[in-house]
């Protein structure tokens, strides 16, 4: 069931304004006996463009017109308005609903139920793209929680004030409604986002958060929207640099890249999610060589994926091109945990300081 949240939502006002504006235009059209139309940015692959300046994918200029005078579109038009009206109610009441809940709520709408959640999710995407707002701004949240964060950060979530160093060993869990979370206090100076939860827990145990004044974030593989939004806010609101530490293989690279540049699928909302200044620190192909890490052979799938990445505009930098090339030449890949070869603490005691020195030009070894 929708969760009650007392605090006024950050973007709630903006969303309500846009929804009201859409409603007003339609009412006026109807009064003039003109078929209402909606311009919805096209999300087809041909309209997804890599924005070199912002360094993430954005939607191109094409849009589709959904007309209430079209027999094929009028139902979808009505469903979109029902979705919008549902969102308005959620925002006004300060509630959240999951996409699944919305799908079931639609059973009671005057347009009848959707044929599947895929259909109702599309409605939400239409609204997001039309308004340039995230679904969270519309009171709709994904099912899954974001990942965990550990470090010197105090947040306010509703009435609860949470210290991310006192939320248990697992850290503070980033909620889907991360936009409603207020950052009260932050003593950290950087964010280190880690692909695997195994390495995350290693970082927590070795007190890396303390040693490096860092917020340690576990991504749990491909980062959820809430996690990406958290990283974006940490970068934007708290002014913290974000570092990415993943497995040394094409899939690890891409987990990092999606945080940096956003995904093509969410091109319409990347301006709220991407962290273009985030830096990828490893595991790189060079690390495999320099640290003599235990490796696995690249599978065919890995090679194919690496070749894809070579052509991807997001990887069109000297750093990435040379790392991808090197990995292809090596024919090897390595996991984050491979550093355990030199002892469990090695990655925190040796590898991380060296990497941070590389990107920040500071010495970290002395700090306790």
């Amino acid at each position: 069931m929708p969760k009650k949240v007392k605090k006024e939502r950050a973007h709630g006002g903006r969303a309500l304004g846009k929804l009201a504006g859409m409603g007003k235009e339609i009412v006026e059209d109807i009064e003039k006996a003109q078929p209402p139309k909606l311009k919805i940015p096209s999300r087809s692959t041909s309209n997804i463009i890599y924005d070199e300046a912002h360094r993430y994918f954005v939607l191109g200029p094409r849009y589709g017109v959904r007309s209430a005078a079209s027999m094929k579109q009028v139902k979808k038009f009505a469903q979109l308005l029902c979705t919008a009206d549902f969102a308005k109610e959620l925002i006004e009441n300060g509630k959240f609903a999951t996409l699944r809940e919305m799908y079931y709520t639609a059973e009671g709408w005057d347009t009848g139920p959707f044929h599947g959640q895929g259909e109702s999710d599309l409605m939400v995407e239409d609204l997001e793209a039309t308004f340039g707002l995230k679904r969270e701004d519309l009171g709709l949240v994904p099912e899954e929680d974001g990942a965990a964060v550990y470090g010197r950060l105090v947040v306010k979530e509703g009435d609860a004030v949470i210290d991310a160093t006192k939320a248990g060993r697992g850290g503070y869990t980033i909620p889907p409604t991360i936009d409603d979370v207020e950052f009260l206090k932050c003593k950290a100076k950087r964010v280190i986002a880690i692909e695997t939860m195994g390495m995350y827990h290693r970082f927590v145990q070795e007190q890396a958060w303390k040693k490096f004044d860092a917020l340690v974030v576990g991504l749990k593989g491909q980062a959820a929207r809430a996690t990406r939004r958290f990283l974006r806010r940490a970068n934007e609101e708290l002014g913290l640099p974000v570092y990415l530490f993943t497995d040394g293989d094409p899939f690890g690279f891409h987990i990092g890249m999606v945080v940096i540049s956003g995904s093509a699928k969410l091109a319409y909302i990347n301006h709220e999610l991407a962290v273009p200044d985030a830096k990828y620190i490893g595991v790189t192909a060079s690390d495999i060589v320099n640290y003599k890490l235990p490796t696995d052979k690249l599978r065919e799938l890995d090679i194919a994926r690496l070749k894809q990445l070579q052509k991807d505009p997001r990887y069109n930098t000297e750093f990435w091109q040379s790392e991808i090339k090197k990995m292809l030449e090596l024919g090897k890949k390595a996991e984050q945990q491979a550093f355990a070869k030199y002892g469990l603490a090695y990655v925190v005691k040796e590898y991380l300081p060296a990497k941070l020195k590389e990107v920040e030009g500071q010495e970290f070894l002395g700090k306790r």
């Binding site: 859409m22 959904r66 079209s70």
Partner: protein
């Protein structure tokens, strides 16, 4: 002194036609428990209708099938008609002697043909139940005759077992037969469907049917007009062969080839006969008896080079498009009917035939409707139904081997907007001819003579074009209605939700609805 041949001939005669039938009942339609019953109903009803028509009264036929002693395969079948009745002295011949009809070898189109007909039914009943047939008849002279009769299998003649007379004001004939080893079912092959088809093809016939469970069905006649009687007619040169020509030449009264051709053949004037003889290089004054095989062949091919009128249709008795439509409409209550009657054509030996096609769409048409009358018995079928007729008589069995079926299968139905697997369509095909080329004495399927096949196919396609027009109109109409419905459903939702979003009063949707329910203007930019 008797020759060997005399002995043989004597032997031969002792195998009577009835005896032959008894041994070959299957060939004549008495095969299978359902089919036997249907064949009996067919023979009785055919006889009744032909008799009424011959007399010029609207046929009113009553058919009842009753269970005897609650036994599952034992029935009493009753037919009654309102025709002329039968004079006493002919009764035993009509019902007890095979090939005794008045129809054989007349180039005239009638339902029955070989004259095995009703006496075969009597034979079947006698073989299975051992009981005689009861015939009650009156010519309307105030006397009613009732006879029990059996067939003397050896002599091929009727044997009267019991006979009585009583006074009574009634005219017609009632036949009661007791049969065993038969099953009653409401399937496609059962008597119910047979009578339904008969009613469709004979809209002037009124049929009352009582089923074993007592259920009464009346197929009302859709017209009061009795079809014209067919006439006997001469052969037409278009389909004639050398052999036919020489046979005719042997019996003609004409003294010269020219007079022979112009008197014995249809649509051949003296002038045409003259022209043909010249083309064939046959002396005009030659005696017909002296014609050689080669000359006959030349004449046959010469006929193909001269212009002739089409064969006369006077001997043909088509149902007529109006009555095909009446019949289909009355029995199937469809959304759409159409009928096509093609001009007469000839096949093989100059024998004219005529194809009529009707189509009924929607309502009770199609196989699904047949399923409805089956009350859940039999297979669950849907889609297009083919109902075949020869001279208005239903052809129910042997559908797979019939020229009509080949013609239907030869058509790409999707071109006409019809999916044969689902369309609620009854396709009616009637072939009228003085001599229908049946594939067997069971008279259930028509041989695939190329002319008949082609002509049937052409006729079906002609009707299918009409159907296509209707279907497309229907689709367009439905689209328009759907369109209006869609907007009526969703535009108010849009208005209400938009007003809620904007916090405004709900706008009046009517002007927009009126404007939009006929315009399509959506584009992708």
């Amino acid at each position: 002194m008797k020759t060997v041949a005399d002995e043989l001939f004597k032997e031969f005669r002792e195998h009577s036609v009835s005896e032959f039938f008894r041994k070959n009942a299957a060939m004549l339609g008495y095969t299978g428990k359902i089919r036997s019953l249907t064949t009996i109903v067919h023979e009785g009803v055919t006889n009744s209708i032909d008799a009424s028509e011959e007399m010029g009264v609207l046929p009113k036929v009553y058919v009842a099938i009753k269970r005897v002693n609650e036994e599952p395969e034992h029935f009493r079948v009753v037919f009654e008609d309102n025709a002329s009745g039968i004079p006493d002295q002919y009764i035993s011949n009509v019902f007890g002697k095979m090939l005794a009809g008045t129809k054989l070898h007349r180039h005239m189109q009638q339902r029955g043909q070989q004259g095995i007909g009703v006496s075969g039914a009597v034979m079947f009943s006698q073989i299975t139940s051992g009981k005689p047939a009861t015939v009650t008849t009156s010519t309307g002279n105030g006397e009613v005759t009732q006879m029990d009769l059996m067939i003397d299998v050896d002599k091929n003649e009727g044997k009267i077992v019991r006979s009585e007379k009583r006074k009574g004001k009634w005219r017609g004939t009632r036949v009661e037969l007791e049969v065993k080893d038969t099953t009653y079912m409401r399937s496609r092959y059962g008597p119910f469907n047979y009578l339904r088809m008969t009613a469709i093809a004979n809209p002037h016939v009124h049929i009352t049917f009582v089923e074993p469970d007592g259920k009464l069905t009346v197929f009302e006649n859709a017209t009061d007009k009795i079809p014209e009687r067919p006439k006997s007619m001469p052969l037409h040169p278009w389909g004639i062969m050398s052999d036919d020509l020489l046979t005719l030449a042997r019996h003609t009264k004409g003294r010269t080839v020219v007079s022979f051709l112009s008197t014995e053949l249809s649509r051949v004037s003296r002038k045409k006969a003259d022209e043909v003889c010249r083309l064939a290089g046959v002396p005009l004054n030659k005696k017909p008896l002296e014609l050689t095989w080669e000359e006959a062949e030349h004449i046959v091919s010469a006929f193909k080079q001269v212009r002739l009128l089409a064969p006369p249709t006077s001997g043909l008795r088509p149902i007529g498009t109006a009555d095909v439509e009446n019949g289909l409409r009355q029995i199937l209550n469809p959304e759409f009917v159409c009928a096509i009657s093609r001009p007469p054509k000839v096949y093989r030996g100059g024998l004219p035939f005529l194809v009529e096609v009707g189509m009924a769409y929607g309502g009770n048409a199609g196989k699904a409707a047949e399923e409805k009358v089956e009350n859940g018995e039999g297979e669950v079928e849907a889609g297009m139904e083919l109902i075949r007729f020869a001279n208005r008589a239903p052809l129910i069995f042997d559908q797979g081997g019939c020229a009509i079926t080949y013609a239907m299968r030869n058509i790409d139905w999707r071109r006409y907007g019809v999916d044969p697997a689902t369309a609620p369509l009854s396709l009616f095909v009637n072939i009228s001819s003085a001599y229908v080329p049946y594939t067997s004495a069971g008279k259930q399927s028509i041989a695939d003579e190329p002319e008949i096949l082609n002509e049937t196919r052409t006729a079906i396609m002609e009707a299918a074009r009409e159907l296509r027009k209707f279907l497309f109109r229907k689709i367009r109409l439905k689209e328009r209605q759907d369109r209006a419905g869609v907007f009526e459903e969703y535009l108010p939702v849009i208005a209400r939700r938009a007003a809620s979003l904007a916090g405004l009063r709900e706008p009046d949707i009517k002007p927009l609805l009126k404007k939009v329910a006929g315009v399509e203007n959506a584009e992708e930019s």
